[in-house]
């Protein structure tokens, strides 16, 4: 293959063989990527078979997780995951969308560029570093300020009262907000920038104010992409592990209040996996992982399709 001689004919011959090899190997590399995705699902299913055979689909709705009694149910973690991610989306969606609007429609360029850069940097901070900051700085701060305020004002509403620990569901939600903001901002911004200028010009020509242009011409055009960006953020919030594990409190129970300590699927796996006994317990933890995988893949597929509808992929993530 590599013995190149001076004869033109054999040069061509070796060239063809090398062409086929090169094209073939690049094709294998690309297929490996697709295969990897399928393999993750298959292997997680295969190694959690014991759990699915024992509990069937009632594993998903089971409320107790008791390794000693050998009973495993995913519901507390599923609820914890969905609650924490919902809190994050409730905060991050409006902030993120407004920021994207500001960056692409309102801010002067010399402000938009550094702001975009900083938001990209926020996305680059390792999860465990944000978690460390969350445990020692953010959680105590929230406990003394926001949590205390909510309890004193809205404490009479069932889910909003109770003792506050700082470490708990609410802090996890806030941490997740911070972590999914860059996703929502970056992709919404990309989508908004894909809106054709003629959309805007037509409305400006009619005498509309900036906000009216954004509201009536830009947002409707970019809507499905922005929804996609939010779902992508939600997907990230569902699977985010380290920072959440460090601030959520790791109590295997459905939270009784917004400030209660609980677990997400990811944090449960992170805290219990290496100490689990091989057999049904490990299998059940992997089954939890499979539930999470299905959730996040659905979110990602839906989100990507929505985003691609508005803007063919240009950016990396």
């Amino acid at each position: 293959m590599t013995h190149i001689t001076l004869s033109a004919r054999s040069w061509q011959g070796s060239g063809r063989l090398a062409d086929i090899t090169f094209r073939g190997s690049s094709r294998i590399a690309a297929s490996a990527l697709v295969a990897l995705l399928i393999l993750i699902g298959v292997l997680l299913f295969a190694t959690s078979r014991l759990t699915w055979e024992t509990f069937g689909l009632s594993f998903v709705t089971g409320q107790t997780w008791d390794p000693v009694a050998g009973v495993f149910g995913a519901l507390p973690f599923l609820v914890g995951t969905i609650l924490a991610a919902s809190i994050a989306v409730i905060f991050a969606a409006p902030i993120g969308i407004f920021t994207a609007i500001y960056l692409s429609e309102l801010a002067p360029r010399r402000l938009a560029t550094p702001l975009t850069f900083m938001i990209e940097l926020l996305a680059a901070i390792p999860s465990v570093v944000i978690g460390l900051w969350g445990v020692f700085i953010l959680a105590p701060f929230l406990r003394l300020t926001v949590e205390a305020w909510i309890v004193s004002v809205f404490g009479w509403i069932p889910f909003l009262g109770g003792p506050t620990y700082g470490i708990g569901l609410f802090s996890a939600g806030v941490i997740l907000t911070i972590m999914i903001l860059p996703t929502i901002v970056t992709i919404s911004r990309e989508v908004i920038q894909a809106v054709p200028g003629s959309q805007r010009e037509a409305m400006f020509a009619l005498g509309a104010t900036r906000w009216e242009v954004i509201r009536r011409a830009v947002i409707p055009f970019a809507r499905s992409g922005i929804i996609g960006a939010v779902i992508l953020g939600l997907g990230r919030a569902l699977g985010e592990t380290m920072a959440v594990t460090m601030v959520i409190g790791n109590k295997d129970a459905i939270p009784a209040s917004l400030f209660d300590q609980t677990q997400t699927i990811a944090s449960k796996i992170a805290t219990s996996f290496s100490e689990a006994s091989v057999g049904i317990e490990t299998s059940s933890l992997i089954a939890l992982g499979l539930v999470l995988l299905v959730l996040t893949i659905i979110m990602n597929v839906v989100a990507r399709l929505l985003v691609w509808r508005v803007a063919e992929p240009v950016g990396g993530r």
């Binding site: 990527l33 005498g207 009536r216």
Partner: protein
């Protein structure tokens, strides 16, 4: 249409109640948007300030040169630093050829449809929670051998890096002008040589950028290492069949200790990690931003 007509009228009659209400709404929403942007930057500033303040005061020679010891006694992050360097290094060696070749395939050889499918798969793979990558690798590289090992950790990190490298490679190659390929092919140079020596050569700086970003990302990943490399108190050089420590694992474990000293060390290690990640990101992004502007 009705709204638009109304808008014309209102715009002309400046000073009427409708017009001033519209201006007020406009002003209000603009300020809300600006406030939202500020709200996005505050957490970044807060993390940077606290990690820097707590981290610098925890930095000392011990942290950089000593292996971690039993709880509360002392020691340092030496084993973790070495472990991160080794595991990320091996992960890079595994992920780069696959990622670059896959990017080449999508951009140079694939049909429009299969190219889209592979790109889609890469995007979905980026969205798979990193802890599940750890579980996935555990099932075939730890479970059968009943031994946590650094090799499994490297493979998990490689899986994280792979789609990132593939996507950046593909995007960079898209920017290489077709005329370059045509010129090379017209000289009778076979496709593989054209791709290697012309296309990849031209895109090399961009591809390296993508690899650096992937390295920075892998260096900060904790979850994929939890049940693959596991972490270790011992300095492990080259023992890829044994558990190995990593900087993110070191931060996680020490943050959970009830000892002040351990927590201090977590801050110190976090500062080191953050410094590395941010320096790589800033270098890479300012360079690419400059190139884009040209």
């Amino acid at each position: 249409m009705a709204g638009a007509t109304q808008a014309i009228g209102a715009g002309r009659l400046t000073g009427t109640r409708a017009a001033s209400r519209r201006t007020r709404t406009d002003q209000l929403m603009r300020s809300v948007a600006a406030l939202a942007a500020i709200a996005c930057v505050v957490p970044l500033a807060a993390v940077l300030v606290f990690v820097t303040l707590n981290g610098i005061s925890a930095l000392n020679v011990d942290l950089l040169t000593k292996a971690s010891r039993a709880q509360g006694i002392g020691g340092g992050a030496f084993a973790a630093i070495l472990g991160t360097v080794q595991m990320v290094g091996l992960a890079t060696i595994i992920a780069v050829p696959f990622g670059v070749l896959a990017g080449v395939y999508v951009n140079e050889f694939a049909s429009r449809r299969s190219g889209r499918a592979i790109r889609f798969a890469a995007d979905v793979l980026v969205g798979v929670p990193s802890i599940l990558i750890g579980v996935f690798v555990f099932t075939f590289l730890v479970l059968p051998f009943k031994q946590y090992n650094a090799f499994a950790g490297s493979v998990a990190l490689a899986v994280i890096m792979l789609p990132v490298i593939m996507r950046t490679t593909e995007e960079i190659l898209k920017l290489v002008p077709v005329s370059l390929r045509e010129a090379s092919l017209a000289l009778g140079i076979p496709t593989w040589r054209t791709v290697l020596s012309v296309v990849l050569r031209t895109g090399l700086p961009g591809i390296l950028t993508g690899i650096m970003l992937a390295v920075a990302r892998a260096a900060g990943e904790t979850a994929p290492l939890l049940f693959t490399a596991l972490g270790s108190q011992l300095v492990n050089v080259g023992g890829f069949n044994k558990p190995m420590d990593a900087l993110p694992l070191f931060i996680y474990v020490n943050a959970r200790q009830p000892f002040e000293l351990q927590n201090q060390q977590a801050w110190g290690a976090a500062f080191l990690l953050l410094l590395f990640v941010l320096v790589v990101n800033i270098l890479v992004r300012t360079r690419t931003a400059g190139r884009r502007a040209q």
